[in-house]
Amino acid sequence: MPDAGQPVGYPAEVLRDLQQLVRDCARSLLEQGEVGMVIGHRAAAPYGRGVPAFVTEPGEAGQLMVGPQCQVGIGKYLLDQTRATRGRVAVIGRGCDILAARRLIADNRVAPDQVLLLWVPCAGRAVPEAMAKGGAVARHCLQCDVRLPEPGQDGIEIIGAHLAGALASASLVGEGCLEATAPRIAPAGPGADNAGDAGYERWSGWFEHCLRCYACRATCPACNCDICVLESRSPQWVERSTALPQQFMFHFIRAMDVAGRCVNCGECERACPAGIPLMDLQQLVAADITELFGVERPHVPGEHEPLGIFDARDPDPERPARTSGGGALS
């Protein structure tokens, strides 16, 4: 069982090599003038957590860091930085950061030729609270299928591909934290704890603590409108009041607008000061999208949004949903 100091997943030497590669890469990019800025992570006092770093000078490349301590997603910063920076902007990040960037590109918020994406293999983002208990990664990291770089995607370069193997087999959860990393809500349905009244009560309990701080929206790469409907007064969908119905409306609208566009980065939940399991909710919706419309990996931004296309053979609400063919054996 790894002690509190040692990060989960990342073998120390792998982490060291990875970090070196990242710094060298950033430095040369800036030196050769390939890019005007590199967005990554740097260690911040007092706990050495990774905070977003916006490196513009080759000299500063040395401060870049990688690893479980980098809990903050950085992809969305492209939205501002590409407008503010002369020259291209590079993102050196994990799979979820890369997907976040691709989300912005798919939404026409960032031009592909403005950015350079460098994909670093990842063994999950640590949950600060779990450090003491042997360390654990965020729950959504356990479902993550982009921890290791996928080669052959245009516009995306890979850093440390040879180290991916070492991370593939990394343990992500310290024994002390198994319970902490279990999904907090299960799919609705017979027996599910969030089905019907019980579920409604649970969500009410969570939403009662929602401060309407908009942190989920602010960090969500799929929430990238300049003007947000959640603040619109005409039409006014959501009132400023934090009465329960307004909370449900707020989170329903967000979940629905992000449906099929969520990149499974977990930023919403990480940023939520009230600890609402927003990521779990999105993952349920993603599973629905796959089940209902046969869209595999809906969290990977593609040519079309699942709700922007249709299939004439989609399941029909008037008829019971499709079921797989009956068994012949036994």
């Binding site: 063919g325 009956g326 068994g327 012949a328 054996l329 036994s330």
Partner: protein, 310 residues
């Protein structure tokens, strides 16, 4: 040297020994390393697949599970997209068809997989074993050129009717490596061996092997048509890659002649026997003596043409 997990199937140990021997000879000559699948069992073809669907899926699935394990062990690739390496090599067209079909069916249905797990007490792992027909391997993995280079004694002047039968290239959804109605793989292999492949209409007509015992009348008619067409096309022999077809075509020439009302005598060889001859193996090594219909016509012709060469 390419490694293959090798599934001989029942007939190669019995009625089709000569196929077995010629396969091994050809494999050796071409540098295919065959690792016989340990503890393999009946593939469930012929009798079973008509009789009981459950068993017809469970039997091949069991063998595919073994193959998956074996492949992992042998380090042979079991990954579809890593090109021509490895796979489960099956010489018998019937076994090949059964194994591939069962695999496709199971892969398509979670329910069937669950039923299999339930029925056998093991978990379905055979999903991405690459089940390969011997002909497919010779034609696709090695290719006619490689064969041509391996030839020591070109079979010049030998006119060959390639007979594919029902199972080797059908159904396309399951096989998919040669045209199901107008296949060419065997023809190109025979051509590579220096022989002359003939176009003839009955490449994939049914020979009635399934009825070989129960309805000799039908078998007589079907075999009769096949042999007549081959003979009319000017063939010196028929080559096949299916023990069922071979047994049927080879042993039913009497009733076929009766049905056709004309004497029909034509040697039927396995493709590997033909290639073996071209590779310089002698008749005994290839079991050419074990056919009911004499293959002397073929071998004499060869020695004749060989003499002409000198």
């Amino acid at each position: 040297m390419t490694n293959y997990v090798y599934y001989p199937g029942c007939s190669l140990g019995s009625t089709a020994r000569e196929y077995q021997r010629s396969v091994e000879a050809v494999a050796e000559h071409l540098g295919l390393r065959l690792h016989e699948l340990a503890d393999w069992s009946c593939c469930g073809s012929s009798a079973t697949h008509g009789a009981e669907r459950a068993l017809a899926l469970a039997l091949p699935a069991r063998n595919l599970n073994l193959a998956a394990a074996a492949q992992a062990a042998a380090g042979a690739s079991s990954d579809a997209d890593t090109g021509n390496e490895g796979g489960l090599l099956v010489p018998c067209a019937a076994c090949y068809s059964r194994l591939r079909s069962a695999q496709a069916e199971l892969n398509d249905s979670r329910d069937l997989q669950a039923d299999f797990d339930h029925a056998t007490g093991e978990q379905w792992l055979g999903g991405n074993v690459r089940v390969r027909s011997l002909v497919e391997v010779l034609w696709r993995d090695l290719g006619p050129d490689a064969i041509r280079h391996a030839v020591k004694r070109p079979l010049a002047g030998l006119r060959v009717a390639s007979y594919y039968g029902c199972l080797l290239v059908r159904p396309p959804a399951v096989t998919g490596w040669d045209d199901p109605e107008d296949p060419v793989s065997l023809d190109e292999l025979t051509a590579a061996a220096g022989a002359e492949p003939l176009w003839w209409p009955h490449k994939v007509e049914c020979c009635g092997a399934g009825l070989s015992i129960s309805r000799r009348d039908i078998v007589g008619r079907l075999v009769g048509q096949i042999l007549s067409e081959a003979i009319d096309a000017g063939a010196d022999l028929i080559v096949t890659a299916c023990p069922m077809c071979h047994a049927n075509l080879d042993t039913r020439q009497d009733i076929a002649s009766r049905a056709a009302g004309r004497p029909l005598r034509l040697p039927v060889l396995y493709i590997t026997q033909l290639l073996g001859l071209a590779f310089g193996y002698d008749q005994r090594q290839l079991g050419l003596g074990s056919h009911l219909t004499s293959t002397a016509a073929v071998t004499s012709r060869l020695s004749a043409s060989a003499r002409e060469v000198q």
